[in-house]
């Protein structure tokens, strides 16, 4: 095991969650944006309306700044936060999907090249070439979604990969297509709300024409997104559905996500067909915040239902491998660690901490507790799923009570089994008992 990182108040997994949820905004904007923008540019050329092109220019600048600073770096941020929160988890993904990611990277290169060319050459090259640049960008960006969805969906439903270990079996897994279509259509909604924000800043008469075009795209995307989202929901594993229906916080998140969807769709409907004048900068800006809240909830559900795994049925949140995968000569680790102990695997520690002694007992207990719990629980009394509070709720009378609880951890549906041998578990129990004193 790698050294473990403790994040006070938040837990390390939530650091990934926050960055990942933020990333959805600029990344889906980057994928959806130019389909609509190129369409508007085409209309502008056909109708000889230079003010349409002014919108295109302004929109593309926003895209450059928002998606290509914050979007690209938050994308790398997910990777970095996973690196420091769940190194073995991201390593497992990378060692299976490195060529998938490398393929996606080629499309990143195309995206960067074409978006800069598109922005700088507007009005400087013939319209046909310029529109083609935008079109190439749009396809390349969508392909990057086609690729990353395979890896994201794999984490929740690895499907046949669990037997074959094959790249494509894992990539085209049970939730791949529903998730791809859901994201593909909802991205028009995300691009749409940004488009409306930019359109709201226009001063000329084309403002409402452009508003209507954008809102129609976005409205269609939201409706189709919901339909495919429904398909996606029904393809989730049974245990995931049980968690959604069983855990109150996931139900709240579902309601927030649906409410955000509803309000946004209504806004698009009104501005597309009835009252384009409704599009106002402040209103659109507030709706972007609502969109973020909706995405945060939806991604929270997607992450939440995967519990207690990082990769469903394969790797637990504490980064121990849950099952054999003979095709790749991978062996399950939990029972081995319970037999041989965790300390022997912590080669980054000095020798004297890799054996339990009366002097280091509490510190070793803390280290093993961190490995077992810190990904999802904060060790501070306040914060996300705070360990001191949760342990206190058990009202243990002695470390032995906690030890008994730790032994039974794996029987809870959303908790991984404890990793460590009997002596290590006892040390953890003593540490936790001390923690709540």
């Amino acid at each position: 095991m790698y050294p473990i990182w403790e994040v006070p108040y938040l837990s390390s997994a939530l650091v990934i969650g926050l960055i990942a949820s933020f990333h959805v905004l600029p990344s889906h904007l980057a994928v959806g944006a130019l389909w609509v923008t190129v369409f508007i540019e085409k209309l502008g050329v056909e109708r000889n309306r230079p003010e349409y092109l002014a919108f295109v220019k302004r929109f593309t600048l926003l895209l450059l700044i928002f998606s290509f600073i914050f979007g690209s770096l938050s994308g790398i941020g997910i990777w970095y936060s996973a690196t420091v929160s769940s190194p073995r988890g991201i390593s497992a993904l990378i060692h299976n999907y490195v060529w998938g990611w490398a393929t996606e990277w080629v499309f990143f290169l195309i995206e960067i090249a074409t978006i800069y060319a598109y922005y700088y050459t507007l009005g400087k090259v013939d319209p046909k070439t310029h529109i083609r640049l935008g079109y190439i960008y749009a396809i390349a960006a969508w392909i990057s979604m086609i690729i990353i969805t395979g890896i994201l969906a794999f984490m929740l439903t690895p499907g046949k990969w669990l037997e074959s270990g094959n790249f494509f079996d894992g990539f085209f897994n049970p939730t791949y297509f529903p998730q791809l279509f859901t994201r593909t259509f909802l991205m028009f909604g995300i691009a749409g709300i940004y488009g409306l924000l930019i359109a709201a800043t226009l001063k000329h008469e084309a403002k409402y024409e452009i508003t209507k075009i954008i809102s129609r795209f976005a409205f269609g995307g939201m409706i189709l997104g919901l339909i495919f989202g429904y398909w996606y929901y029904h393809k989730l594993p049974k245990s995931a559905l049980e968690l959604i229906n069983g855990l109150p916080y996931l139900q709240i998140l579902s309601k927030i996500a649906l409410l955000a969807w509803g309000i946004l769709t209504l806004y698009f409907f009104l501005t597309a067909f009835i009252f384009p004048q409704l599009n106002h900068f402040i209103l659109s800006f507030l709706l972007i915040l609502l969109t973020f809240l909706g995405i945060l909830s939806a991604e929270g559900i997607r992450e939440g239902v995967r519990r207690p795994y990082i990769i469903f049925d394969f790797m637990y949140s504490h980064q121990a491998i849950a099952r054999d995968l003979p095709a790749k000569k991978i062996k399950a680790e939990v029972e081995t660690i319970q037999r041989e102990g965790l300390l022997v695997r912590l080669g980054y520690l000095p020798e004297d901490l890799r054996k339990i002694t009366p002097e280091n007992r509490l510190e070793v207990g803390r280290i093993i507790a961190l490995h077992n719990c810190a990904n999802c629980h904060s060790f501070t009394p306040k914060g996300v799923r705070p360990l001191p509070v949760l342990v206190k709720k058990l009202a243990p009378q002695s470390p032995e009570d906690i030890d008994a609880f730790l032994s039974a951890l794996g029987s809870f549906p959303y908790m991984p089994p404890f990793i460590g041998n009997d002596e290590e578990r006892k040390a953890v129990a003593e540490y936790l008992f001390k923690l709540i004193q």
Binding site: T83, P87, H95, V98, Y176, A327, E363, L370
Partner: protein, 401 residues
Amino acid sequence: MNIGTYLNAMRDAAGLPSPAFVFDFFLVLTFALHILLVNLMLGSALLILYGRFSANEHAKRLSQSLSRLLVNSISWAIVLGVAPLLFVQVIYDPFWYTANTLSAWWALGFLGFIILGFVLAYVFYLNGGYEGKGSPLWVLLSLAFLILAGVIMHSLAVTQLYPEKWPSFAVIKGVYQSSGSSLHGFELFRFLHFIVPSLAVVGVWLMFYGNYFKGTGKYSEEYLSYVAKLGAKLALYASLGQAVVGFIWLLTLPTEFSFFTNPFFILAFLSALVLLGVLFKAQGNPSGFAKICAFLLGLTVLLMGAAREALRTNYFTKAGYRLADYPVNPSYGSLILFLATFVIGLIVLLYTALVAYRSGQGIKEVGYEGLGRLSVILLWGWILVMVFIGVIISLKNGTLF
């Protein structure tokens, strides 16, 4: 358990999907491209500052063009950094992940500093940097944050070289340091070896600039000649500086490596010598030497990258980690997917580059129709093939409905 046993035990259980040398090759290649852009980014920031504080009108004029180069090169440096970041995690995962988790906040801070550097470069550009306005303070701050990001990446790389020290970083006075709030290494001359070439790279860029705009009527001949000469001078002096830094760094390396006899080092050294010779010659007529200097610079950076990789292998072998021993579970399909996409990508990028190149020279009807159409067809073809494979596999596995 000694540290070597730990390192080998920490290799990913899935093994590598292709032999290690394939990743190593792409790691060195993409890192060379990345560091060239990093150097271009730092060099252009430095020259913007020089131009804004210089009394020379040409230097001032140049800083305008460079304000755009700065934001563009940051973008490219980031995206080109993704590939080596990916490949290093595949073959050197035990080193990479340990160093990063030990300094977790810094690893995240690295990205935060890049965001700051990037945003500030944009603030300068959008506040009139391209028109010769805007406060150079933004560039100065941007440069500071970007260098800070470089310091972090350097420190993480140095931490990886000394796995035997990890336990002393992880535990201090019997207490495990779970906060990830410390950095654990810095080697001045190694760091300088990554930074000093910035002025050489931007110098060669300027030689190109002089050549590119010649005859377009966009700038005066006098200005273009000034830029090209400045470029050639910078490239020469920075390359000499780099040679000195490299020599001192070589002296600080463990003698047991005998690194001066390493073939990659010797090749890089020879290539640098040739580059220096050509740069000497180029001082009289820089524009005419732009292409050959760019080629030699690229080659030298690539060979230096290969030499640094060889050096890393020395350190890792010393720690008991042998790359060639990494188990392989081949995934031919995914490798073919990447290689085919790489070729498609090069074609599409070529088309985009040709359009941008001509447009920059003021040509409106850029042409290359056939290549443009081919690019679009190839992208749609890619999607069709993937959907076809996806549907077949999903039907075979019974996962589609």
